[in-house]
């Protein structure tokens, strides 16, 4: 009885969107690899199909086990495991495309950073739903920031900048949702903006002026204001100094870190080919399996990172807009579930999971249309990749879990 009542509360649009996207994904993994030169790639769509089965089973489990069990100690435990796996990756990980991102035994490989994002959401939801956490107090920001910084730093070390920025997005979204005053949110991101702008003096001065004005009108006490000003001044002055004193090879390392494929022969080429693929799809597309760009292997990562380009080429604006709208549905329903849930932990859990989706979807699609740098992030649900698909459905399951129990406090 209870189960049927719970089942009625499942967010159907979200579930349908997720499954549709996964099926579309399998179809285009098939299309992208059907003519593959390497025979090893030809059976990938079947593998992905099996993964979908595993992922759906996983989603069922995460949806049925009441989400409240994760609150508190278990979330810390899971977070600890996630961190340990990340550390292990650094020492014994497989190197793929120049970074250590994989852990594995024999044939089985998985990417701990995928798991780390989910457990970070759990632990942040625990902290932010704690009644002792008062977000109007600056010092209460310390713990969530620190906890998010640990996996972020470890992933950055791999190095995988794209994924490490995901942790910032998760943290900021969840802080915002937990009720952090917008002023604090702004002050929190000022050092990051500062680093980026410190190389362009006029823009930096403008930014400093805005910051000063905001601080002046903030009615904050003197000490927090001084702290913010001090941090920003130090960051703003030190960054260019440090940069100028770096050896050329060290600078090179930093620039490759920010833009791993800064070489236009690599990434620029991929982006141009991706844009040509998507653009040439025009309104109706060239037809399923009829893409020409991929046929000549111009899209190297076409079944993983550049799957959206194949969709765009073969199904045109109609198809790419449909996929985009399915993703929009997924996100908006996720926000709605978070909004509807009465339990603070559950609500934060749902928004955190949704923010992971949001970040990956936007970064990947923007990359394929040339609006973002090549970061090597997969497109959730659509890209080939077992861990990615499984994690995505675990997230879907958790969001559904909150949706089904929205009445519970």
């Amino acid at each position: 009885m209870a189960n049927t009542r719970l089942g009625a509360e499942v967010d159907r649009p979200l579930l349908v969107a997720a499954i549709l996207l996964a099926l579309i994904g399998i179809a285009f993994v098939f299309s992208a690899t059907a003519n593959a030169v390497m025979e090893a790639k030809q059976g990938l769509y079947l593998k992905q199909f099996i993964w979908l089965g595993i992922a759906l089973a996983g989603a069922a489990v995460t949806a049925i086990v009441p989400y409240r069990v994760y609150e508190g100690k278990l979330s810390y435990l899971l977070f600890g495991i996630g961190v340990i796996l990340l550390v292990l990756t650094l020492f014994v990980g497989h190197v793929g495309l120049g970074a250590q991102r994989w852990l594995g035994w024999g044939q089985l490989k998985f990417q701990p950073s995928e798991l780390a994002k989910v457990v970070t959401v759990l632990v942040l939801a625990t902290i932010l739903s704690d009644r002792k956490t008062d977000l109007t107090q600056v010092r209460s920001l310390f713990k969530p920031c620190l906890l998010a910084a640990i996996p972020m730093a470890l992933v950055m070390k791999q190095p995988d900048l794209g994924t490490s920025v995901a942790f910032v997005t998760i943290l900021l979204t969840m802080l915002f949702w937990a009720g952090l005053p917008p002023l604090y949110l702004f002050l929190l991101v000022t050092p990051i903006i500062n680093v980026a702008l410190s190389f362009f003096l006029p823009v930096w001065i403008l930014f400093a002026a805005i910051l000063a004005l905001v601080l002046y009108r903030s009615r904050l006490r003197l000490v927090p204001i001084l702290v913010v000003v001090a941090i920003n001044l130090v960051v703003g002055i030190v960054t260019p100094q440090v940069w100028n004193h770096l050896e050329p090879y060290q600078r090179q390392r930093v620039t490759t870190f920010i833009d791993p494929n800064g070489d236009p022969y690599g990434a620029g080429y991929q982006i141009i080919q991706s844009k040509i693929a998507i653009g040439s799809g025009q309104v109706w597309g060239k037809g399923f399996m009829n893409g020409t760009q991929k046929g000549l292997a111009f899209l190297p990562e076409q079944h993983t990172d550049f799957i959206f380009s194949v969709v765009g080429e073969e199904t045109g604006f109609l198809g790419s807009a449909t996929v985009t709208l399915l993703y929009l549905t997924l996100i908006l329903r996720g926000v709605r579930v978070a909004h509807r849930g009465r339990n603070r932990f559950g609500s934060l859990l749902a928004i955190g999971m949704t923010s992971i989706f949001l970040y990956h979807i936007l970064v990947n699609i923007c990359m394929t249309v040339g609006l973002a740098p090549v970061t090597g992030l997969p497109l959730p649900l659509l890209s080939y990749g077992g861990t990615s698909l499984l994690t995505s459905f675990l997230q879907v399951g958790l969001i559904q879990n909150v949706a089904m129990r929205w009445r519970e406090y």
Binding site: R131, T173, F176, W177, A178, G179, D263, P264, Y265, G268, Y269, I272, Q273, K275, I276, A277, I278, G279, S280, G281, Q282, V283, T292, Q293, L296, A297, F298, G312, E313, G316, F317, S320, A321, T324, L325, Y327, L328, I331, L332, V335, R336, A338, H339, G341, R342, N343, R344, G346, S347, L348, I351, L358, L362, I365, C366, V369, L371, Y409
Partner: protein, 627 residues
């Protein structure tokens, strides 16, 4: 029970903000898709079907190589390379057309159509970068290709720096050459940033310092339309200009290198290595016969390559570092050093058996090189006259254990560590080696007799011989021979793995008096009336040396000679080897003499050379291919 009636305070407002923000961003993405696919779709469709975007690699010139005086040994000149893009739309579904284009090109450019077709077949499987079909193409062919662009789809002419060795074959083994990267290397992660058709250093300095000599290639995007015209794609990416590689200044002195190479008779096979005993600088390193690296830089036919590498003379083979020869009597000073260090002899020690041209060991006579015999000699005379009978008896007194362990401290079985690739190890066998080779106890004690005169199973490379000679000259310092004096990138000096260079140089703990005795005996080799090395005398300088004649089971004896000068304050140490030439004193010592002469009397040597200079001596770069 109910802590929080409204679970997240103010969540309605935040939900609205977040939803609108998400909606806005997605609307922006949709707008972008709409612009690309609907508004600009025709343009992109054209790009994907008729026209092709290509990456054009702007090859970086390699760093220049100069001698220690700044004289140019290797630079770059502009050249044209004809490329073929096998993925041109014209060839999609028409493989026969591709074949006929290749054949057509072969006719124009004068290449072997079968070889070219093989090349295209091999390379198109690997990448989608246009294939560099033929390098160093002459202007006439360039003009032809440009005029007939319409009938030659996917064919293009690119400008590429061509490696040039302005002195032709001079220093060829030292410099090495460049050649196209091989399939095997492309799979090697160390060559991860290389593309098919890229040139890479082969042998010599070109290979050893490939990482620094190679510059950073630039890139640009070009759009090629059906008429073969190129338009740069502005807006998307600006071209990245290539950066020239690091320039190297070698320790080698061109005048000395030239003297070393020209000291050989035409057609002779051999090697010369000259080292500065004060710091290990390699002043000259020559191997004969040599080859013209310019010929190899443009890509040669398989047949010609086989001829160079496997032909009778093995011209590509660097005899100075890749070949180990029995040291013959040049080993004797080292044997003396061992005996003195072991206190087995005194300078005045003589042996029981006097030299009457042979030494009876068991039932077998061991001959001295001089059948008339030397009589009874002590250390100095035995070295000067190279008396084998003295050394047979010294060998027996020392025994294999002591001799082989001393040779081990000299590093005779090790590489010199010179900064050149493919250096071979020499060998000085010890009892364990013989046990392994012949079985425990199944080898004769008589082997020591041959080893003591540098024959038998021991062997050494000319560079190692020069290194040890330099050590004797400088009083015990074993320098790792080095070829690069200075490296500059964009006008600024840079350092090349300094730690490795120093770790291999070390001081041997040798008694100064022992060394002095050996040095004196080596001077006697040159100046003693009966000395074997008189032909190495140079006016105004005192030379110390040792001759060697190595028996060679495959043919005539190899002639060897080691020396250094000035004896009182050595500045140059030399090892000479001439294959199948005969006696070291008559065949190898004169070669060393010419190098010494060029070193100590540069002006006289230069004017003598200019007087003998024929106009053809300065070889230009390989002439462009003709159509």
């Amino acid at each position: 029970m109910r802590f929080d009636p409204i679970p997240v305070r103010g969540s309605t407002r935040r939900e609205r903000i977040l939803s609108w923000a998400v909606g806005l961003v997605f609307a922006f993405v949709l707008l972008r898709l709409f612009t690309m696919q609907v508004l600009q779709g025709t343009r992109y469709r054209e790009l994907s079907e008729e026209n092709r975007i290509r990456v054009e690699v702007l090859t970086a010139p390699r760093g220049e190589i100069r001698d220690r005086q700044g004289r140019l040994l290797a630079d770059n000149i502009p050249s044209f390379t004809v490329t073929l893009d096998p993925f041109d739309p014209a060839y999609q579904g028409h493989p026969a057309l591709l074949d006929s284009t290749v054949e057509h090109l072969g006719r124009i450019l004068g290449g072997d159509p079968v070889e070219l077709r093989e090349k295209v077949k091999r390379e198109r499987r690997r990448s989608f970068v246009p294939i560099r079909l033929m390098r160093n193409v002459d202007m006439k062919s360039v003009a032809y290709v440009s005029e007939h662009a319409a009938t030659l789809p996917g064919v293009d002419v690119e400008s590429e720096p061509l490696r040039r060795y302005p002195l032709g074959s001079m220093g060829s083994h030292l410099l090495g050459y460049v050649g196209e990267i091989s399939d095997k290397e492309l799979e090697d992660p160390r060559y991860a940033d290389y593309l098919r058709g890229d040139l890479t250093g082969r042998m010599g300095v070109e290979r050893q310092y490939e990482k620094v000599l190679r510059g950073v290639d630039g890139k640009r995007f070009v759009e090629v339309n059906a008429l073969g015209r190129k338009a740069e794609l502005l807006g998307d990416k600006r071209p990245i200009l290539p950066k020239r590689g690091t320039d190297l200044t070698l320790t080698v002195d061109l005048a000395l290198q030239r003297a070393a190479e020209e000291a050989f008779e035409p057609g002779a096979r051999g090697a010369v290595v000259a080292i500065d005993p004060r710091n290990g600088d390699v002043l000259a390193l020559a191997s004969r016969p040599n080859y013209d690296p310019n010929e190899l830089a443009t890509g040669i036919s398989f047949k010609r390559w086989k001829e160079l590498s496997e032909g009778e003379n093995h011209a590509l083979f660097n005899r100075a570092i890749q070949a180990a020869y029995p040291p013959g009597s040049t080993l004797k000073p080292f044997v003396i050093l061992c005996a003195l260090a072991a206190r087995a002899i005194e300078p005045g020690t003589t042996f029981r058996e006097t030299c009457d041209g042979a030494f009876q060991f068991g039932s077998r006579p061991f001959r001295c090189w001089n059948p008339r015999g030397h009589g009874t000699l002590a250390l100095r005379g035995a070295v000067a006259q190279s008396c084998d009978v003295y050394f047979y008896q010294l060998g027996i007194r020392l025994g294999l254990d002591r001799l082989s362990s001393f040779m081990k401290t000299l590093g005779l079985s090790q590489r010199s560590g010179i900064d050149l690739p493919q250096e071979r190890r020499g060998l000085f066998p010890d009892p364990a080696w013989y046990d392994k080779r012949f079985g425990v106890g199944r080898w004769s004690r008589g082997l020591i007799l041959n080893l003591a005169i540098g024959q038998g199973e021991c062997s050494v490379t000319p560079v190692k011989l020069a290194q040890i000679t330099a050590m004797i000259a400088n009083g015990g310092m074993m320098w790792r021979p080095r070829l690069v004096r200075e490296a500059t990138r964009e006008g600024a000096k840079i350092s090349l793995e300094p730690a490795a260079a120093d770790s291999l140089s070390h001081r041997l703990s040798l008694n100064a008096r022992d060394l002095q005795r050996v040095q004196e005996s080596m001077e006697a080799v040159i100046y003693d009336p009966h000395g074997t090395g008189g032909l190495a005398k140079v006016e105004g300088v005192r030379v110390a040396g040792k001759t060697g004649t190595a028996q060679n089971p495959h043919g005539d004896d190899h002639a060897l000679f080691i020396c250094y000068a000035p004896a009182e304050a050595p500045e140059i140490a030399i090892a000479v080897l001439v294959e199948n030439a005969g006696h070291g004193g008559s065949e190898a010592a004169p070669v060393a003499q010419k190098v010494l002469h060029a070193y100590f009397h540069p002006a006289a040597a230069e004017s003598a050379r200019i007087a003998a200079l024929k106009p053809a001596a300065l070889a230009p770069a390989a002439p462009p291919r003709r159509g």
